[in-house]
Symmetry: C2
Subunit: 246 residues, 2 copies
Amino acid sequence: METIRKRRSIRKYLAKDVPADLLDELLETAARAQTMGNLQLYSVVVTRDQAMKEQLSPAHFNQPMVKGAPVVLTFCADFNRTTQWCKCRKAVPGYDNLLSFMNAASDALLFTQNFCNLAEEKGLGICYLGTTIYNAGDIIRILQLPKLVVPVATITVGWPDEHPEQSDRLPLAAFVHEETYKDYTPEDIDRYYCPKEALAENRHFVEINQKETLAQIFTDIRYTREANVSISASLLKTLQEQGFMQ
Amino acid sequence: METIRKRRSIRKYLAKDVPADLLDELLETAARAQTMGNLQLYSVVVTRDQAMKEQLSPAHFNQPMVKGAPVVLTFCADFNRTTQWCKCRKAVPGYDNLLSFMNAASDALLFTQNFCNLAEEKGLGICYLGTTIYNAGDIIRILQLPKLVVPVATITVGWPDEHPEQSDRLPLAAFVHEETYKDYTPEDIDRYYCPKEALAENRHFVEINQKETLAQIFTDIRYTREANVSISASLLKTLQEQGFMQ
């Protein structure tokens, strides 16, 4: 519990390897995560080769962790292996659809988070790259992922070479609802978001970007409608190409 | 690490409450999980009321854990709260699309798995109900979820009243790929799946269902193409109704 309570993402790593047997132990234990029908609808691709990291880097908008970490893990929703198993066993698979993608993505993400908790407990630092589904098509090509395999999360792993401040979180009441969902009034929004908006770093972001509010940093710069619409279209295309929208 | 290594899903619970302050502590700590832009794109609805459990039960195919657990938690992908925040802050949100749903679903699932690990560390038993997205529309109605909120996982929580055998897992080599994805040969499939197929319980399943192979249990009974196609269509409709496919 203390490991999770005190966690922070680590983006700078020591020039020190992560032993293969440690990584194996962590991945094997992480696979105790719940999984649909015990099918383990995921795969993970381990990147240690520097040339492969160079290739992956642009797909993650050149965030420096990709080239700087000893290990990059790409966690994938995978219905290919199960489908191959079915075909070898006189069973006719029907997993080329949206539900199956969501089931596999769920399995992969639970497995990913289990891995993160275990790695941090061992003193490793990790950073979660949410950019994975933004350029999924490029990652598929680089890692040679077959149909019915789609990357959903990337984790950079290494020994920490920094000790950043912990980031803030919303108060519990902002995201917990008793019995039914109570929608948010403007007063609720003020109560839950004013502390975040008052943080020095957030006020600084607003100022240097010449915006009026912190929310505008998200809507106008970090996650714009234009980018979201464009990436949604390419994500849908990727799901089709990978055979999940039959 | 030992908690995760030894974990098993718990489906029978003691008639003993889960204190609200313990649940709050677990949810608050779970929220340390990584989240997109620190937006925490999730909500959780806590069900303790027996009448609410009765309503939710059919949406989970009447699995007995829903009515039998002291607490049922429905974890939701939530872009509503962030959107309300934007609207209160002169920011124009653009989160009514597939990418935003996937980002919120990812946030919600990482948060869910963190919660599961923390709960099990405290000695609680949990069961993950993957049925949540199968009947998402019913759950949305019962829990009164607004647009841009979609349930993605349900966890039943209580003090264990059973100690089941641990389920098997595939060997590590079955789901870990070095540098690039190596597709599976029939020999790989045999090597990875024969131990599972040889388990007494799985041979028993095949026998009582009068099937030829274990894989046919999945394709013909548990997760059929017909059901997957039908549920995929209703899931897509739910995403549209909740405003995520604009």
